[in-house]
């Protein structure tokens, strides 16, 4: 991890300078933005396949149960000597992946017993594992910096605080020995404990010892004011590294197994017949989901992750049909939504409105007792923006949008009404009852329409030169005649009256 970070820093320093880099990495908002974008990117990739394989709720379950993996691994690390128990340990990823796979296996096992159906099995397993994790956390609240708020929401706003320092210049580690001029000495009583006496007791014996001896890294030496020259440091937030790694892992997995994943998603039977091991691939996908969920856990908690997995791919799916397009569009949309969401959390609603103004308006309208401070969790704001994008895609999608289907529905209705009227005229034209059936004045009664609708249909047909009115009687024009013949030929109903002249 550290090497990767060093590499990245090296790369970044070629395009920017040190001061700017440290300003960005030390800025809560900039790091939140970067992390949010990375989570959205990393989750949308496996999320696309989850969506298409109808595993959305499984992903939700896994993102809950990785918490148990985290807590148990943490406890194990704390119990084992020689291993440091902290929430950044790479072992946690392993524990979480195991928990995710265990969720799926346990659900399968319960379901296979034939006693409980699939949905209920999932609904039993993940609340249980999550409940155990919460109970453990509440018992260990003093040792682990995890509380229920962090579990629900994540702490994307403080990812900058948990950083690893990288030294670029003046990086000499320092060793202070007792005879170093910078060594500070102190005295301590050697027999006080043994004799149970205070240090002021005349029998007390003392020895001198070095207070600050030991080895220092360059950063520690500077912090302890042991060196005059400050080393050049870059503080790199750990969350960014782990999210970046996971994003790359997901990208690599999908690039490598694109064909197998695609076939396994759309035709699992064929995939199995071609020995592409769809079951194994499915497990691998679940591992990826767990790993992504645990890496994102610090940033967005465990309840909202499912949004990052599902909503951007669902949005993309409403817009495009091809898998490759969805795989490109979903991460892009996710990153965009996390930008917008980040701005939203600061009160800027898509650049259209300021939430503060909105709250002021609301305060005047319904009375908020003057509390107009806009303050929200960044992760929740990102999810809301993803949802907004989803709704927009649903309404405006050129393929299956609400607006489009509304327009199409209207167009079909209009077309049908026009055909009906043309057919009516065609049917009665030149017959004895033409004078009554085709009279402009009473037409709406014959068609069973409102006068307004009749006028509109008539106007459209006259505009298109298909119908004309002579002496108050409707007549087909040559174009109208052709149109009638065409659609009657299409239906294969030569003589049948399209309109019962009522």
């Amino acid at each position: 991890m550290a090497t990767l970070e060093a590499l990245l820093i090296d790369l970044l320093l070629r395009v920017t300078d040190l001061q700017q880099l440290n300003a960005i990495l030390g800025d809560p908002q900039a790091t939140a933005l970067i992390t949010g974008g990375l989570v959205a990117f990393a989750a949308a990739l496996p999320g696309t396949f989850l969506l298409l394989r109808k595993l959305a709720m499984t992903a939700d379950a896994i993102s809950h149960t990785v918490l148990l993996g985290i807590v148990l691994t943490f406890l194990l690390l704390a119990a084992l000597p020689g291993l440091e128990a902290d929430l950044n340990s790479p072992w946690l990823i392993l524990g979480a992946a195991l928990a995710g796979v265990a969720t799926v296996l346990l659900t399968d096992a319960i379901q296979r017993s034939g006693l409980v159906r699939e949905d209920a099995a999932l609904g039993l397993v993940f609340p249980l594992l999550f409940a155990i994790a919460i109970i453990l956390i509440s018992r260990l609240a003093d040792d682990v910096h995890l509380d229920s708020d962090a579990v629900i929401l994540g702490e994307i706003g403080v990812v900058w605080a948990d950083a690893r320092s990288h030294c670029l210049q003046d990086c000499q580690p320092l060793e202070i020995t007792p005879d170093d001029p910078r060594a500070e000495t102190g005295r301590r009583c050697t027999n006080c404990v043994e004799l149970d006496i205070g240090p002021r007791d005349p029998a007390a014996e003392f020895e001198e010892y070095c207070l600050n001896c030991g080895s220092y890294t360059a950063a520690e030496a500077w912090r302890a004011r042991l060196v005059p020259q400050a080393p050049t440091l870059v503080f790199w937030p750990r969350a960014i590294t782990s999210m970046l790694l996971v994003a790359l892992l997901n990208l690599a997995f999908i690039a490598l197994f694109y064909k197998e994943l695609k076939l396994g998603t759309f035709d699992p039977a064929l995939a199995a017949a071609l020995s592409l091991r769809p079951a194994l691939l499915n497990t691998a996908l679940m591992v990826l989901v767990s790993v992504t969920a645990v890496a994102a856990f610090d940033a967005v908690g465990s309840v909202l992750v499912v949004a990052f997995f599902i909503i951007p791919p669902a949005t993309a799916w409403l817009l495009r049909d091809r898998l490759a397009h969805i795989l490109l569009l979903a991460p892009a949309g996710g990153v965009l939504a996390s930008l917008a969401g980040y701005e939203f959390s600061r009160g800027n609603f898509l650049g259209i409105a300021q939430m503060r103004d909105l709250l002021l308006m609301l305060d005047e309208a319904i009375g908020l007792d003057g509390f107009t401070e806009w303050n929200t969790s960044i992760s929740a704001a990102i999810v809301l923006m993803m949802f907004l994008f989803f709704l927009l895609a649903w309404v405006f999608s050129p393929r299956q949008g609400l607006l489009l289907s509304l327009l199409q529905h209207r167009a079909r209705q209009q077309h049908f009404a026009e055909q009906l009227l043309l057919g009516h005229v065609h049917h009665h034209q030149g017959t004895a009852e033409a004078a009554s059936e085709l009279a402009h004045a009473g037409l709406h009664q014959h068609m069973g329409w409102t006068p307004r609708k009749t006028q509109r249909v008539l106007a459209r047909l006259r505009l298109r030169d298909m119908l004309q009115i002579e002496d108050g009687i409707l007549q087909l024009t040559a174009r109208g005649e052709r149109s009638v013949r065409r659609f009657m030929a299409l239906r294969g109903t030569s003589g049948a009256s399209p309109a019962a002249g009522r």
């Binding site: 109808k54 939700d60 017993s113 209920a120 999932l122 509440s138 629900i152 599902i310 409403l318 509390f371």
Partner: protein, 435 residues
């Protein structure tokens, strides 16, 4: 049917008695002092558990368990908004939660019907989006720093300790109203749960009933939120029903049992969380409820895992005993003497380790006599039994081979069944007369 029904009712009654017994036992073991708060909390937990258990049964039977999860998350913005508009009054909070969940159902159904998204994706989207909205509102409320907002967080993980006596009353009234609707429309709900297309064909207003039943499930969720919290609510909704399903095949019994289990889990979890500061109620209730499920899956008669295991074992033993008896008979016939003993070692080699208990079993039944050492021979009755079995097998073989040619009635071939009871006597005679 009615016989099985009444026996199952006895099971239900026994389980009720057992769970009532658990109360004094738990009190004694846990060393719990009974006081006013404890009684309120336990009563609240029990009532909520009962309502959730009964109504959740329909969610389980209709395979809508995960819908419960989505709806409980979707309730959060309703709770927060109701708090903003009306303050911390349980009735309003519940109303808000109900409306929000309702909108959630509506949105999920619309998404499934109007887009290419499937049920799971629609639920995931609604769950996360509504929850995020709820969190946003909650953060806003927290930023106002009202003293009275304490207690909203409890909707996330549940806090039984905050239940007051009038809350218990309100919950009971709402729950009772839900039960009244349930009983009034019992036949209809039963029909649309098990055979919706039949219900529709018979002119029942399917959509309306569907919506009504979903509403009842929403009521259960909304009531239970206080206790279990939005994240874990799905467990309280479905665990009692899944447990109850193991014990019975009948809907009415299942609902009663689910109520009992739900009440037990609700009260148990609430009391446990009341014993120690800072323990959220929701997780404890879930653990108790899932423990009940595990016990039910293991122990339930007919369906349970232990029961199934035991029956398989018994069947295997019976089968081995039959085979061993035939082996001895055949061995004796080959030696031309019906009393000719067969060595036990040979039988074990033939039929595996189950042969030993089978031999002992046959001896107890008086079908075998042990002679000196490890030799076994048929008794008088054993001989009769094996001859009858051999004849049965012989007739089945002939039936399989010639039954169709002779124009005999067609049967599923099962040599375990006595063929002379399945076929008329003249058919048996014709099979025997073949050569």
């Amino acid at each position: 049917m009615s016989h099985a029904g009444s026996r199952n009712w006895r099971t239900v009654a026994a389980l009720l008695a057992l769970s009532l017994l658990a109360i004094p036992l738990g009190l004694a073991l846990g060393n719990i002092r009974v006081d006013y708060t404890l009684v309120t909390v336990a009563a609240g937990g029990a009532v909520l558990g009962i309502v959730c258990g009964v109504l959740g049964s329909f969610a389980v039977l209709r395979q809508q368990s995960l819908l419960g999860d989505a709806l409980s998350h979707a309730a959060l913005p309703g709770v927060a908004l109701a708090f903003l508009l009306a303050g911390r009054e349980l009735g309003w909070l519940l109303a808000g939660a109900g409306i929000a969940s309702w909108l959630g159902v509506l949105l999920i159904n619309t998404l499934v019907r109007r887009t290419r998204l499937k049920q799971d994706a629609a639920m995931g989207i609604v769950l996360a989006a509504f929850f995020a909205l709820g969190i946003t509102l909650l953060t806003y409320i927290q930023s106002r720093n009202d003293a009275s907002q304490a207690g909203l967080d409890q909707f996330i993980f549940g806090q039984a300790a905050s239940i007051r006596r009038q809350d218990v009353l309100l919950i009971s009234v709402v729950g009772l109203a839900a039960f009244v609707v349930l009983i009034a429309l019992w036949k209809e709900f039963k029909l649309i749960t098990f055979d919706p297309s039949f219900a529709q064909a018979n002119g029942f207003p399917l959509r309306l009933l569907d919506v009504l039943l979903s509403t009842l499930i929403v009521v259960a969720i909304v009531l239970g939120l206080q206790l279990a919290g939005v994240v874990l609510m799905v467990g309280l909704l479905i665990a009692p029903a899944v447990a109850a399903r193991q014990w019975t095949q009948q809907l009415d019994q299942m609902l009663v049992l689910a109520g009992i289990f739900g009440g037990l889990a609700g009260a148990g979890g609430s009391i446990l969380s009341g014993m120690q500061q800072g323990l959220p109620t929701g997780p404890l209730i879930i653990v108790v409820a899932v423990a009940i499920v595990a016990l039910s899956i293991a122990l339930a008669p007919e369906r349970g895992l232990l029961w199934r295991h035991w029956r398989q074992r018994r069947d295997r033993q019976r089968f081995t005993a039959q085979q061993v008896l035939q082996d001895i008979h055949r061995h004796a016939l080959q030696h031309g003497d019906p009393q000719y003993p067969a060595p036990g070692g040979m039988l074990v080699t033939l039929r595996g380790p189950l042969a030993r208990p089978a031999l002992r079993h046959l001896q107890r039944e008086g079908l075998l006599n042990a002679s000196a050492g490890d030799d076994w021979k048929l008794s008088e009755r054993g001989l009769e039994r094996s001859q009858a079995a051999a004849r049965n097998q012989f007739l089945w073989d002939r039936y399989r081979q010639f039954g169709e040619d002779l124009g005999l009635p067609s049967l599923a071939v099962d040599p375990q069944q006595p063929i002379d009871r399945l076929l008329p006597a003249d058919a048996i005679a014709r099979l025997e007369a073949l050569d």
